[in-house]
Amino acid sequence: MLTNPDDIFNKYALPETLGEFDDDLLISFYEIFIEHTSASWQKAEIAAARAKWCDVSALAHTIKSSARSIGAFALSDIMSEIEQICEDGTSAVDKIELAGELLARTNDAIREQMKLMKMLSSNERSKE
């Protein structure tokens, strides 16, 4: 799947949303996002396997907004599609696999960013 890396994870989005650039604060948000989204998506996959598409729609709705806030635009877009397709009980089986892959790539990109931030932060501290 070809997606612009900035759409997978845009590191400038969350500081813009928050109006703050504090690394510790940003990291805490990324951690909450990964934990919550992974748990929600796991529920969505179970619901999809049971063909409970309205439940899938509701879960995709939740992920959609927080993904956009965090800078995971591609994930937000696919969740929005899933939300709309499934809201009347229609199957979105082909999108589920795609969304799962996208979520994994998003989480990897966020973890990479967190690693970088932690490293920079530790370098700063050692200089002090």
């Binding site: 949303t17 928050l18 919550h36 709705h61 939740t62």
Partner: protein, 413 residues
């Protein structure tokens, strides 16, 4: 009397505390965002869903930030719980739903009496959240359900019967003015309960029970007679010669005896029938039976005017209203309050006004609370205004004074 939830008032001698903001959202990212945005100015409490909300926190909340899509109980269901509070907290609906759904949720909250409500589409940033919350916190919109701090209660039918026997129900009056000339052209009688224990109680605490009870017709007649009596005094003291509007529950019109009793009251108090306006809500008109239409026709035949209250909250449409011999429509406050800022509300009011003029109906705009709204209505050519900007509902003794002062201030305008 069953006391429902009453918010704890911060006493003036307690240590200064920040106002309380309660977030109800299943998404931890948004809970954390709101906490970050608001914790400088508020004590922020967060809950992942309505079922986990602690009642004490809800009662203490000044602002509730509510998500709509939550797994255990959705935000709309939770609005019913918030509506039982007195006074009610201000409400910010924060949701990722389509703006039309968010707007519907906002209107639902307003119909539940939460007049201080705003909305925000997710995702949002610090700036848009801060603007929304600051505006909401500083808003001083009226909460019609609240007259006294003890108003958060629901009366039983027995309590109401006792109150009626003891003469505890009184009429308060809200003036209506001609928007172009500022002349007072009418007053609306609004029921209040002068409760021996709780003070002046607003209709929200008793009207629902009355409308479902057998005493609705008796209650309406008692209020009408009281208002007619007050009107006579007022006319004598102030030379007021406008109309007197009284709310009549839809089911009361269906009672065979109601028209006779009303006409007897008019005779008893020697009241000019063409100055009496009976208001029926638009929602109450949706399933009018033969008895109701017969009563309305009889009242009309005797010169009594008929008005459709809360217009816009039902499904009637102007064509039906015209064929049902109404003289007046009162546009519901939910369309009026944001007329100066919302293009859709402005368009709705403008269309209603045009059609009303064509069909010969007088239009009253209710719920006017600021100068901008009044100016916008004047611009649109709306003839009659009513709302807190002009005057709050008041007892007849205060109205007497108010009319004299208003006439003096607006003489010659």
């Amino acid at each position: 009397m069953n006391q429902t939830m009453t918010r704890i008032k911060k006493s003036s001698n307690s240590a200064p505390t920040k106002p309380v903001l309660l977030v109800v959202d299943d998404d931890p990212v948004f809970r954390a965002l709101i906490k970050t945005f608001a914790s400088g100015n508020f004590d922020v409490f967060e809950n992942s869903g309505p079922s986990t909300v602690d009642v004490t926190t809800l009662i203490a909340a000044d602002i509730v930030v509510l998500d709509l899509n939550m797994p255990d109980k959705d935000g709309i269901e939770f609005l019913q719980t918030i509506a039982t509070l007195s006074p009610r907290p201000k409400l910010l609906i924060a949701s990722g739903y389509d703006p039309r759904i968010i707007e519907m949720a906002k209107r639902t909250a307003e119909l539940y009496g939460m007049t201080s409500t705003t909305s925000l589409k997710k995702p949002f940033d610090r700036n848009s959240f801060s603007v929304a919350v600051t505006d909401l916190f500083n808003s001083e919109k009226s909460d019609e359900a609240v007259v006294s701090s003890q108003a958060g209660m629901k009366a039983s039918a027995d309590d109401i019967t006792s109150g009626m026997l003891a003469g505890e129900f009184v009429a308060y009056y809200q003036p209506q003015i001609d928007i172009q000339t500022n002349k007072i052209i009418g007053i609306e009688a609004l029921a209040r309960w002068n409760h021996p224990q709780f003070g002046i109680l607003a209709p929200a605490t008793f009207i629902g029970t009355i409308e479902l009870s057998k005493s609705a017709s008796e209650f309406t007649i008692v209020m009408m007679q009281s208002a007619m009596k007050d009107y006579k005094k007022l006319a004598k003291n102030t030379k007021f010669d406008g109309t007197l509007s009284v709310n009549v529950p839809a089911d009361v019109f269906a009672e065979q005896d109601f028209a006779n009793r009303l006409l007897e009251s008019i005779q008893l108090f020697d009241f000019p029938p063409n100055r009496l306006i009976c208001e029926i809500t638009e929602r109450g008109m949706e399933n009018l039976g033969a008895e109701t239409i017969a009563t309305l026709t009889r009242l009309k035949m005797h010169g009594i005017q008929l008005s459709v209250d809360d217009f816009g909250t039902g499904q009637s449409g102007l064509s039906k209203i015209k064929t049902r011999i109404f003289d007046e429509i009162k546009i519901d406050r939910m369309f009026i309050k944001d007329i100066s800022t919302s293009a859709s509300s402005g368009l709705i009011v403008e269309s209603v006004l045009k059609l009303a003029v064509q069909t010969g109906l007088r239009v009253v705009a209710e719920g006017i609370e600021d100068e901008e709204t009044l100016a916008a209505l004047r611009q649109l050519g709306c003839p009659v205004a009513q709302g807190y900007l002009i005057a709050r509902p008041m007892p007849v003794s205060s109205l007497n004074k108010w009319i004299n002062e208003w006439q003096l201030t607006n003489a010659g305008r």
